[in-house]
């Protein structure tokens, strides 16, 4: 009948030496190597420090009721300009009466408290002697991120379209997109309000440029902005003396890149370091056992079951 090992424990054999000795120097050297080498290997194999991180969030979007619609006709001197601010365009543009109606709807489709769809409908009255050749629609949106990188900014949704033939209607379906040229700083408990100012409202007309271009130039210089990804668009031909512009903009989940925080960096680096450190610890421990058991350095060997005479 065989015997089975039911329980076992290790017996610790200690090697002791004085502070200033070769054995101590060797031990310190190996300890430092055990600590440093995993870091060097992890760092040299790349990806040790987390440079970038991203998350997905559906932002809170609201239309701020600031807008600018410029419908240009075949006669460049005649444009229909519908805008929310009196001071935005000069008083020479006296065709405001042709902005017959503007309807806005914000839809929360899934009832989660966030706007999922923005519907805009413009009804323009076109003088019979004029035909529309292009439209530029600039809509001001209030954009808020709430979760990981709190952000509050005023952004634009810009829709542009040229017409080859006189249109009677234009339908536009698109998705709002978050566009960033750099990572968000993402400081905890701090809302990023760098761009929380109205572009249209605070716009100061530059005498050399037209309004639409100047607004776009200003907006272009932003690090963080929104744009509309055109999914489908269609215009209806035929000069009917009126025009309907319908734009439906969905608000999907957006990908946001940010610079990770220190704790996130450490959380990512720690498992990499630890996994390598365990390997190196095992290797150097074997070296230590070999060195001390073979008495390559002078050290007292203390075996628990032997009486220590030097004490």
């Amino acid at each position: 009948m065989g015997l089975y090992t039911l329980f076992s424990y290790n017996v610790e054999v200690q090697f002791k030496s004085c502070l200033f000795s070769k054995a101590m120097l060797f031990t310190l050297f190996l300890t430092i190597l055990t600590l440093i080498l995993p870091f060097v290997v992890a760092n040299k194999s790349r990806g040790f420090w987390l440079r970038t991180q991203k998350f997905y969030e559906q932002p809170n979007i609201h239309f701020t009721y600031e807008y600018l619609l410029v419908a240009e006709s075949d006669d460049p001197s005649y444009s229909i300009v519908c805008n929310s601010m009196k001071g935005l365009v000069g008083s020479n543009l006296r065709n405001e009466e042709h902005c017959t109606e503007f309807q806005v709807h914000e839809h929360d489709v899934n009832s989660d408290g966030k706007v999922d769809l923005l519907d805009f409908k413009y009804y323009l009255d076109i003088p019979k002697e004029r035909t529309i050749t292009s439209i530029a629609l600039i809509l001001m949106l209030d954009f808020q991120l709430k979760t990981i990188c709190p952000l509050h900014m005023q952004s634009l949704a810009v829709i542009n379209r040229e017409f080859v033939t006189p249109p009677s209607a234009f339908k536009y379906l698109g998705d709002l997109q978050f566009y960033q040229i750099s990572h968000l700083p993402c400081k905890p408990n701090m809302i990023n309000t760098k761009y929380n100012n109205s572009i249209l409202f605070n716009y100061a007309k530059n005498g050399h440029n037209n309004i639409v271009d100047s607004i776009l130039d200003t907006y272009f210089m932003r690090e963080v902005s929104t744009l509309i990804n055109t999914l489908y668009s269609r215009n209806q031909n035929g000069q009917t003396g009126s025009m309907q512009v319908q734009a439906s903009v969905r608000v999907p989940e957006m990908e946001i890149r940010y610079t990770p925080s220190l704790m996130q960096e450490l959380k990512w680096a720690w498992p990499q370091y630890l996994s390598l450190a365990a390997v190196f610890y095992w290797i150097f421990n074997k070296i230590r056992i070999f060195v001390f058991f073979n008495r390559l350095f002078m050290a007292r060997r203390i075996v628990p079951w032997k009486k220590q005479s030097w004490k």
Binding site: T34, N60, V104, T240
Partner: protein
């Protein structure tokens, strides 16, 4: 430690199994008695396949493949060039056939016949591993390099009949000298030198991707449970339907037939013209905004169509013609038994054509209401048409067409026309029927109910038969100008946020009067409905609402800065100060539970705002753009959703509690944390060092 040992042994045994055993088996085969080589390839293959057929697993060791290869490679009559090709592909094919669960023995036989009777595998036909008596090819002469007749030998590049094809080495029309020109011997040698394709790897999509030679000692998949594709002997004609193919469906065409029965839902509305029955239709857009299609007007289906047409194709002309020629009919009890279709057997009614202009509707008079065009202005053109059918006692008792006429410019190539089809089960005009906007809460898109009376709003609402009086109507924009009519479509509708603009033009009166600015303001006030107070019903159905529950919108423009003006004789400019040109109505509503009703939209509050500005006019052109803004705010939900912050505990510590560390500096704190962490690591690793 013991566990690690066991695991190590397990891993080692697996490695031995996969790597070492392979070698051993090859070694054993190499050491086989040479006498065994005399065993026919039929027997060896049969033995191998028999073993496999006992346990038809999807996975098998490559050693078996190799043994199969070895067996086939020991076939004496197979030429080296064909061994490479034949061994790989034929082995694969054989395995495919044998592992096909759906293939019966007879299928196997026939499949092998099919495979082996093909000329490409003539030599392999000899590898018969079933005792198939039908397979007579086993007695066929062994393979030889001597070309066979072109009728039996397959040669893919032999495309010219009885003429030598260039560079076609298998073309038997070519002579040996021509073959020499084509350097066929070199090509055969090159083919012979191609690396042997592993039968296992050939099952994979990309050899390189899966490691090439690394797979030699690993398992591979010979058979999967994917749908059988190869068993074309079981071809089923019905399987054609499972493939995508060109469609030949006829376009959807619904034929309508007068069934001599009472109207059912979605039946077309029938017309009778000279004992001919046909259905009524109206224009609809098809692929663009132009009226290119026509749809039948279906019984009890409310429809709306808006499309563009040229002036000559306006639907009003079609309607006027139809109304003269045809009558609207309804089948009665007598209809079913009669073959003659006329008004004696049917219920016939004539059309009622109404011409509506500026809110007033009157019967159509051909002499006065006909469309006339003078220069480029056409009068009495109806771009909006309403069909109204009244149904009572199983028949249509009234069919009314309302033509909303206006003057338009004929210079426009296209017109946008709107056609509405409505059915009512009533015996009086819809204009005399009270219309609610919800029951009781408002429904989005229906008009907001208002009362301009001082009191008894609910009673007046229910006694009032003229719908427009209970709606809040603002001026329409007609060609940019404010057009205030009773039938204006600019009605305040629940839930519709909109901004409307139009141009107010003051008639030219020569030298302006001193109080002209007040006159202008008075006119604008009428346009913006600022001249009288209004009460708004909180519900779409104001039943049982007392006056104090109605929301009074007291418009007090007296509180605004007084309007005054100044006329400059020299510049002929009129300056008006504090002129109100913009009205903003803000409705706040919520979805509330009221008594037994749940989720009813109730208007909680109404607010109005006006904006006054200074304006300058030339006396010849006193015009100003007025703006009306309407917005509905849902206060049920908060305007901004705030997420709850993470839980935290406020602990108040003495100022010098963290004395050695700099307080309130996040950067320093993180550095300190890092240092503490590093120290912990060092202590953790250095705890073995004892300095006693």
């Amino acid at each position: 430690m013991n566990v690690m040992t066991y695991l190590s042994f397990t891993v080692l045994s697996i490695v031995i199994q996969f790597c070492v055993m392979d070698f051993i088996q090859e070694k054993l085969q190499a050491d086989d008695d040479p006498a065994l080589l005399n065993v026919s390839q039929k027997e060896s293959l049969h033995q191998i396949l028999k073993n496999i057929s006992h346990k038809p697993h999807a996975l098998y060791y490559r050693t078996q493949t190799r043994s199969l290869k070895s067996a086939s490679s020991r076939i004496p009559n197979i030429s080296s060039a064909l061994v490479t090709l034949g061994t790989t592909e034929a082995t694969t094919a054989l395995f495919d056939v044998l592992y096909d669960d759906n293939t019966t023995d007879s299928d196997v036989t026939s499949t092998t016949e099919m495979y082996f009777t093909s000329t490409d595998y003539d030599n392999i036909t000899e590898i018969t591993f079933f005792d198939n008596k039908k397979n007579k090819s086993s007695n066929s002469p062994p393979f030889s390099t001597k070309p066979k007749t072109s009728s039996t030998n397959h040669c893919a590049c032999n495309l010219l009949y009885k003429v030598c094809d260039i560079n076609c080495c298998c073309d038997q029309d070519c002579s040996d000298s021509e073959h020499n020109i084509f350097q066929c011997s070199n090509i055969a040698k090159a083919n012979h030198n191609e690396p042997e394709i592993d039968g296992c790897v050939s099952h994979l999509f990309d050899e390189r991707k899966y490691g090439g030679t690394t797979l030699d000692n690993l398992l591979c998949i010979v058979k999967t449970n994917l749908p059988v594709k190869r068993n074309i002997q079981k071809f089923d004609q019905l399987s054609v339907d499972q493939y995508y193919k060109w469609r030949c469906d006829d376009p959807k065409f619904t034929s309508y037939e007068f069934r001599k029965t009472l109207y059912n839902f979605s039946d077309p509305v029938w017309l009778l013209k000279n004992e001919t029955i046909y259905y009524l239709d109206f224009p609809t857009p098809s692929v663009n905004n132009y009226c290119t299609d026509r749809e039948p007007i279906e019984f009890l289906k409310q429809k709306q169509s808006r499309c563009n047409v040229k002036i000559k194709d306006l639907e009003m002309f079609n309607i006027l013609k139809t109304s003269e020629e045809a009558m609207v009919i309804s089948a009665t009890e007598k209809t079913a038994n009669s073959s003659l279709m006329n008004c004696s057997n049917l219920h016939c009614i004539n059309w009622t054509i109404l011409v509506c202009d500026n809110g007033l509707c009157q019967n159509y008079n051909k002499s006065t209401d006909e469309v006339t065009c003078i220069e480029d202005i056409c009068t009495n053109v109806a771009l909006k048409i309403d069909y109204e059918f009244y149904y009572q006692e199983f028949k249509i008792i009234n069919a009314t067409i309302k033509l909303y006429v206006e003057n338009i410019s004929s210079s426009l190539p296209f017109m946008s026309q709107e056609i509405n089809v409505n059915f009512y089960i009533a015996n009086k005009s819809i204009d005399l029927i009270l219309q609610l906007s919800g029951n009781p809460g408002y429904i989005e898109g229906l008009p907001v109910i208002v009362s301009y009376a001082k009191n008894n709003h609910t009673e007046l609402f229910y006694n009032n038969t003229l719908a427009y009086k209970s709606n809040m109507v603002f001026p329409d924009n007609k060609n940019g100008l404010c057009d205030m009519t009773h039938t204006s479509s600019n009605i305040v509708k629940f839930g519709v946020n909109k901004r409307t603009k139009c141009l107010y033009v003051h008639p030219y009166e020569g030298v302006p009067k001193p109080d002209i600015c007040n006159t202008i303001q008075s006119d604008i006030n009428k346009l913006l409905k600022l001249h009288k107070n209004v009460s708004i019903s909180p519900y779409g159905n104001p039943r049982d609402l007392s006056d104090n529950l109605w929301l009074n919108l007291e418009i007090n423009i007296e509180k605004q800065e007084p309007v005054y003006g100044q006329f400059n004789d020299k510049s002929l400019k009129l300056h008006c100060y504090n002129l109100i040109t913009r009205l903003s109505l803000i409705f706040m509503y919520a979805s509330v539970d009221e008594n037994a009703y749940r989720g009813q939209n109730k208007i909680l509050s109404v607010k109005y705002e006006v904006a006054a500005n200074n304006h300058s006019f030339y006396v010849e052109d006193i015009s100003i753009v007025t703006t009306i803004d309407i917005i509905f705010m849902d206060v049920t939900k908060p305007s901004v959703y705030e997420y709850a912050g993470s839980p935290h505990l406020n602990i108040y510590l003495p100022r010098d509690f963290f004395f050695p560390f700099p307080p309130n500096t996040s950067a320093h704190m993180s550095t300190t944390c890092l240092m503490i962490l590093l120290c912990c690591v060092i202590v953790f690793f250095a705890n073995k060092i004892t300095l006693e």
